[in-house]
C-alpha cells in the first residue's frame, strides 16, 4: 500500500501523466461505490445477490454499448498523448556549410543580442544547398529555419503531436531578419560544363517572441487536430447518454413490454455510431 507522502509525491510529480488515468478511474470508482452504497442503504435495499441481479440485469445492455464507446476511445488514445516533458534533443538537421558572401558577415556566424526588454535573442544564419533556381534555394532555407524553430519549441515546451511549421509564415512574422541569395559556378560532373547554382542564406531570430509564436502555432495546429478526435469521442458518449435516456423513457412508458427490442435497438444505434466514429478517426 503506498504511503500518503508517496501518493502526494506521485500526484505532484512532473511525470505523472501516465498516472492520470489510474487516478481518475480510482477516484471515480471510489466515489461511485460510495454513492451507490449510500443510495442503496438509503432506499433500504436488500444486498442479497438475487435482488442485486434482478435489479441490474435489465441494465446489462449498457455494458456492450459502453464497451463500444470505450473501444473507440482506446483506438484514438495514442493520438491524444499529453506533451512529453522537454528533453535534450538532437538537432533536426545538420547545418549546411555556410557560404561566405562578401559584404554580408552575418551569413557566416551567429550573433547574440539583447532585445528591448533585456532578454537574449540569437540571430542565426541558415543556408540552403545549391539549387538550380533562386526560388528553390529560398524555399529550402526557410524550411530549414522552420525546423530549427520547431526544435527550439520542443526543447522548451516538450513534444506532442505531429506538426509542421511553415517557412513562409516565419518570414511573414518577421522572424527572418535577413535574407540573401547568391550564385556560384558548380560542376555537376567532370564532363559537364560548370553552371551557376543558387544559394540562399536566411537569418533566423531565435528568441522568446519567436518561440512563443511557434508554440502558439503548434498548440493551435495540434489542438485543432485533436479536437476532432475528442469531439468524435464526446459525440459518441453523448449519443450513448441520449440513447440510454430514450431507452429508459420508452421502457418505462411501455412498462417493460418491449424491453428486449429496445435493448437491441439501443445497442445497434451505439454500434453504428461507433463504426462511423472509428472510421472517422482512422481517416
Amino acid at each position: 500500500m503506498p504511503s500518503l507522502p508517496g501518493i502526494a509525491t506521485g500526484l505532484g510529480a512532473a511525470g505523472s501523466v501516465e498516472h492520470v488515468a489510474t487516478w481518475v478511474i480510482s477516484l471515480l470508482v471510489l466515489a461511485a461505490a460510495i454513492a451507490i452504497r449510500v443510495a442503496w442503504a438509503g432506499r433500504r435495499g436488500s444486498s442479497d445477490l438475487r435482488t442485486l441481479l434482478r435489479t441490474t440485469v435489465p441494465a446489462a445492455w449498457f455494458v456492450p454499448a459502453a464497451a463500444i464507446v470505450i473501444a473507440v476511445a482506446t483506438q484514438a488514445s495514442p493520438s491524444l498523448e499529453p506533451p512529453q516533458a522537454p528533453a535534450i534533443l538532437s538537432q533536426p538537421n545538420r547545418p549546411n556549410t555556410l557560404p561566405s558572401i562578401t559584404g554580408h558577415s552575418w551569413t557566416s556566424q551567429s550573433l547574440t543580442e539583447q532585445d528591448d526588454s533585456g532578454r537574449t535573442l540569437v540571430l542565426t544564419p541558415i543556408a540552403s544547398k545549391p539549387h538550380a533556381t533562386a526560388k528553390e534555394a529560398r524555399q529550402e532555407a526557410l524550411q530549414l529555419a522552420a525546423l530549427r524553430l520547431k526544435y527550439e519549441v520542443e526543447r522548451v515546451y516538450g513534444q506532442a503531436g505531429d506538426w509542421e511549421l511553415s517557412g513562409e509564415a516565419l518570414d511573414q512574422q518577421k522572424f527572418i531578419t535577413n535574407e540573401i541569395t547568391s550564385t556560384r559556378p558548380y560542376k555537376l560532373s567532370s564532363l559537364a560544363p560548370s553552371s551557376e547554382m543558387y544559394h540562399c542564406v536566411v537569418r533566423l531570430e531565435v528568441s522568446d517572441a519567436s518561440r512563443n509564436w511557434a508554440s502558439g502555432y503548434w498548440k493551435q495546429s495540434v489542438g485543432a487536430n485533436r479536437l476532432k478526435t475528442i469531439g468524435t469521442i464526446t459525440g459518441l458518449l453523448c449519443l450513448l447518454i441520449v440513447t440510454t435516456h430514450l431507452y429508459l423513457r420508452l421502457d418505462i412508458a411501455s412498462r417493460g413490454t418491449h424491453r428486449g427490442k429496445l435493448q437491441l435497438a439501443s445497442v445497434a444505434v451505439v454500434a453504428a455510431a461507433g463504426l462511423v466514429a472509428s472510421t472517422l478517426l482512422s481517416a
Binding site: P5, A8, T9, L11, G12, A14, S16, V17, V20, W23, V24, I25, L27, L28, L30, A31, A32, I34, A35, I36, V38, A39, A41, G42, R43, R44, T55, P58, A59, L80, E81, P82, P83, A160, G161, G216, W218, K219, Q220, V222, G223, A224, R226, L227, I230, G231, T234, C238, I241, V242, T244, H245, L248, R249, D251, I252
Partner: protein, 562 residues
C-alpha cells in the same frame, strides 16, 4: 368523565407552580387533571404513565402549534420525582359525545353538523399541513367552547417513531372511528378523513356506521362492509360514500375537501362524484378475538417540524412478511430537498440521463456564449480551443454531479458527511480529467492574477499546485475536489429544490470557487468560470418538479414503490 382512582388528590401540588383541583380523566396513557397555576390560569395537566418518551416526543412536535380549533399544549415539565407532565389549555365546554348523548341521541340537524365539521376540518387540515396525523379523532376528543370547536389529545401517541414500534401492538384510536388501512399499518392523513366522516355519519344519524359485538367484528366490518348510507340525507350520501372509501387513495383527500363537498351537496350543487375503484376483499380478522389485532409497525420515520415530515409505518403480522412498504406523507411546504421519497432505480436513471442530456445542450450554449463574448480571448487563435476545453470540463463536472447526487435523492438526511466525501472524490476525478483535457488540447488557463502571486498557497507539502503560472495536476484535483466537497450540490440537483435556478446559490458557488482560486493559486477567471458554469448547467439541467405537482409526484412514487 372521571373514571377510576387518581394518583393525586385535590389541592396537591406535584408539579411546581400548579395546584390540582380535580381529576378529569384517567386512561392507559396517564391521568388528566384540572389545575390552577400560581398565577391563576386554568390548565389541564396530563401525567404520563406509560410510553413516556414516546408521548413526550409526540407532544414536543405539537408544542408550538397554534390554532383556534386545537387545544393548545402549553409546556412539558418534569416534577421532582422525574414524572413527565404535559400542561395543556383547559377547555371547559362539553365534549361532542356528551352533546350527542344529551341533546341529539337521534342525530343532529344538518346545520349543527356542518358547524362541527367546519371547526374539525380547519383544525385537522392545520395539523396535516404540518405533517401530523391526529389518528384518534372521535367525539370524546372534540369540544366546543365559546362557539369554537376544539380538537383535543393532539400530539399524544399520534406520531410514530422507529423507537415506538413496540408500543403499537395495542389499539390505536377508537375502533368505531378507525380507518381500515390502520390494520395494514398505514397512517396517512386519510385516516383522519375516515374518522371524521364516521363522526359526521354519527352526528347525522345518532349512531356510528359500523357497530358490532366485539372489536374484531367492528374492525372486520371497517375492512369489508360498505356503510349503510340509507339513514343519511340523500344529497349527503355520495359525500359520505366518498369519505368512507376503503381505499385511502380513492377517499376524499382532506377535510377541507370533505367540507366543500358537504357544502356543495347542501347547496344542491353537483358534489364530487366518488371514485369507487375495485376494492379487493380485505383479509378477515380472527373472529372472537378480544383485542384489536393491529400488528406491530416495523418501520417509520419522523423528522422534526421545519423539515420534511414523514409519518408512516409498514406493518406485519407475527410470522409474516411485511404487507406493504411505508406510506409517506409530506405536508405541502415540506416538499423540498432531503424529503424522503420512494424513487425507483429506473426513475433515478431516467432523471439522471435526462439531466445529462440537457447538460450537453446547456454547456454548449454556455461555452458558445462565452466564446462569442470574448471570454476566452478576443482575437487569439486558441480561443475556440479554450472554449471547448472549458465546456468539456464543465460538462464532465455537471455529469458527475447529476449522476452522483441523483443516487441520493429522496434518501433523507442521513450520511451527509459521506455525501461530501463522495463529492470530494468525484471532484478530484473531474479535476484530473479536466487537467488531462487541457494538456491534450494544449490549452493554457488564463495566467494568475497579480494578487495571486504572493502570500498564498502554491504547494501543499511536496505537492506543487502551480508551475509556470499554470495549475498542475494536483492543483486541478485540489480545486475541483474542494469545490465539489464544500457546496451542497445535492440541493442544486434535487427535483424538489425550491426553484429551478437559484441566483443566490450561483453567487455563493462563484464566491466559493473564487476563494478556492485565491487559496490554491488557481487562476481566478477559470475558477469563477467553472464554479458559475457548473452551477448553472447543473441547476438548469437537473429535473425539477414544480411545487404544485410534488404531492402528485410523491403519490405516484409511493404507488410505484408499493
Amino acid at each position: 368523565m372521571t373514571s377510576g382512582k387518581f394518583t393525586f388528590a385535590p389541592e396537591s401540588t406535584p408539579l411546581a407552580g400548579f395546584t390540582i383541583k380535580r381529576g378529569i380523566q384517567r386512561g392507559g396513557f396517564g391521568e388528566v387533571y384540572y389545575a390552577i397555576s400560581d398565577g391563576g390560569k386554568e390548565v389541564a395537566l396530563k401525567l404520563l404513565h406509560s410510553h413516556v418518551e414516546i408521548e413526550r416526543r409526540g407532544t414536543e412536535q405539537c408544542l408550538n402549534l397554534k390554532h383556534p380549533n386545537l387545544v393548545s399544549i402549553i409546556d412539558i415539565r418534569e416534577d421532582d420525582d422525574g414524572d413527565t407532565w404535559v400542561v395543556m389549555e383547559y377547555v371547559s365546554g362539553h365534549t361532542l359525545d356528551q352533546v350527542l348523548a344529551e341533546d341529539y341521541p337521534n342525530g343532529m340537524p344538518v346545520d349543527e353538523v356542518r358547524s362541527w365539521l367546519d371547526g374539525l376540518a380547519s383544525g385537522v387540515d392545520y395539523l396535516h399541513d404540518r405533517g401530523i396525523v391526529h389518528r384518534d379523532l372521535k367525539p370524546q376528543n372534540l369540544y366546543r367552547e365559546s362557539g369554537y370547536v376544539k380538537i383535543g389529545d393532539i400530539g399524544l401517541s399520534k406520531i410514530i417513531t422507529p423507537s415506538q414500534r413496540g408500543a403499537q401492538t395495542e389499539s390505536i384510536g377508537t375502533i368505531y372511528y378507525m380507518a381500515p388501512e390502520i390494520s395494514r399499518g398505514e397512517y396517512g392523513p386519510e385516516i383522519d378523513v375516515y374518522s371524521s366522516a364516521t363522526i359526521v355519519y354519527e352526528l347525522l344519524t345518532g349512531h356510528v356506521p359500523f357497530e358490532g359485538e366485539s372489536t374484531a367484528e367492528i374492525l372486520n366490518r371497517h375492512l369489508t362492509d360498505q356503510p349503510d348510507l340509507s339513514p343519511l340525507p340523500r344529497n349527503l350520501r355520495p359525500v359520505l360514500d366518498h369519505a368512507l372509501a376503503k381505499d385511502p387513495a380513492a377517499r376524499t383527500q382532506s377535510l377541507g375537501a370533505l367540507l366543500t363537498e358537504f357544502d356543495d351537496a347542501l347547496a344542491g350543487r353537483t358534489p364530487h362524484t366518488p371514485i369507487t375503484p375495485p376494492q379487493p376483499p380485505q383479509p378477515a380478522q380472527a373472529s372472537g378475538a378480544t383485542s384489536v389485532p393491529v400488528a406491530q409497525p416495523t418501520e417509520a420515520v419522523l423528522q422534526a417540524p421545519g423539515s420534511a415530515v414523514v409519518v408512516g409505518s409498514s406493518h406485519s403480522r407475527p410470522g409474516q412478511a411485511p404487507l406493504r412498504r411505508p406510506r409517506v406523507f409530506f405536508p405541502e411546504e415540506h416538499h423540498g430537498p432531503l424529503s424522503p421519497r420512494n424513487i425507483s432505480i429506473s426513475q433515478r436513471a431516467l432523471e439522471a440521463t435526462a439531466g445529462m442530456a440537457a447538460a450537453i445542450l446547456f454547456t454548449g450554449l454556455l461555452a458558445s456564449a462565452g466564446h462569442l463574448t470574448g471570454m476566452f480571448g478576443v482575437s487569439e487563435q486558441s480561443a475556440p480551443l479554450r472554449a471547448v476545453a472549458f465546456g468539456l470540463t464543465t460538462l464532465l463536472g455537471a455529469w458527475a454531479l447529476l449522476v452522483g447526487t441523483k443516487a441520493w435523492e429522496g434518501t433523507g438526511r442521513e450520511s451527509l458527511s459521506v455525501r461530501r466525501l463522495s463529492l470530494l472524490l468525484l471532484g478530484g476525478g473531474v479535476g484530473a480529467a479536466g487537467w488531462w483535457l487541457h494538456q491534450v488540447l494544449l490549452v493554457d488557463l488564463p495566467p494568475l492574477a497579480e494578487s495571486q502571486t504572493a502570500g498564498l498557497v502554491d504547494s501543499i507539502g511536496s505537492l506543487e499546485l502551480v508551475r509556470n503560472q499554470q495549475p498542475t495536476l494536483a492543483g486541478y484535483v485540489m480545486f475541483f475536489a474542494l469545490l465539489f466537497g464544500i457546496r451542497r450540490w445535492w440541493w442544486h440537483t434535487d427535483g424538489f429544490r425550491p426553484k429551478r435556478l437559484r441566483v443566490l446559490s450561483l453567487l455563493l458557488t462563484v464566491t466559493v470557487s473564487w476563494i478556492l482560486g485565491l487559496v490554491l493559486q488557481f487562476p481566478l477567471a477559470a475558477a469563477a468560470g467553472w464554479g458559475l458554469g457548473i452551477a448553472i448547467v447543473v441547476q438548469l439541467s437537473a429535473p425539477w418538479v414544480a411545487p404544485a405537482h410534488r404531492r402528485a409526484r410523491l403519490e405516484q412514487e409511493g404507488a410505484q414503490h408499493a
